[in-house]
Amino acid sequence: MKSSVIVFPGSNCDRDIAVALEKMQFKNQMVWHKETKLPKSDLIVIPGGFSYGDYLRSGAIAGKSLIIDEVIKAANSGCLILGICNGFQILTETGLLKGTLLRNKSLKFINKDVHIKVMNINTKFTNKYKSDQIIKMNIAHNEGNFFTDQKHLAELKEEKLIAFKYCETNGNIIEDSNPNGSLENIAGIFNNKKNILGMMPHPERMVDEMISNKDGINLFSSLLN
């Protein structure tokens, strides 16, 4: 499977995701944001970081960069797109995913491992997880507070477009397990066609027992499945 990682000035998880993808046997290429052509890819990853220093709004400037037109074209023709952290923020700014990410309710940058529940396993991104599986992943963000309008929220629920929710160790989804104030503890969502996933937690940081755990592995192996 061929993957491309888009790199912006200020991206800082681009090499981590490249290491994770290569470990999982993806044939990966890095693509600078000024490129106007994308290499043939089955998966495009928009990595975490602080593209353009979060100027204006997180992801706003990157969302208008040259390569993004190609990403939108690829997305519309069914290519798989994964946006992690700042990548999720960028995807909402491009309109590929609805909703937005507000500043954390606590006004603090949060960097910690949290538990999330896999809410839908019938997708290209999650099919190797078990239904309702609880996994532990790192979050590291200042704007992760997912917000959207009531109509979209209803659509997310009806169409099973919520990918992950923040939960307790035992899986309970309660306010106390919500690190950033996200609407209904939402940590990641799909678009209607489920070929785009945006998520705040970092699966690329969870692929090696030596440094964390392997809870992110199944996301990548799902894509290969």
């Binding site: 204006l56 709004r57 706003a60 208008k64 700014e93 609805k98 909703g99 937005t100 507000l102 500043r103 309710k105 606590s106 006004l107 917000f147 959207t148 309008d149 104030g181």
Partner: protein
Amino acid sequence: MKFAVTVTLKKDVLDPQGKVVQNTLANMGMDKLKSIRQGKHFEIDIDEKNASSAEKKVNEMCKKLLVNLIIEDYKINKIE
């Protein structure tokens, strides 16, 4: 032609920064304070003689980049 654009979070969107500023001012003894919403301010100079077409361009800038319409409102004022 110069315009000022003010961007604020919509009324029903939580504005934690505004809230913190509000609470701090209240703690400082500003007892008549009712509420504070924090926002952004842009000053835009545009090379255009016709006011309505200039404002149209500023409006387009707001919609396409400066404002996230899901969570923010904006006001355009001609200043020069």
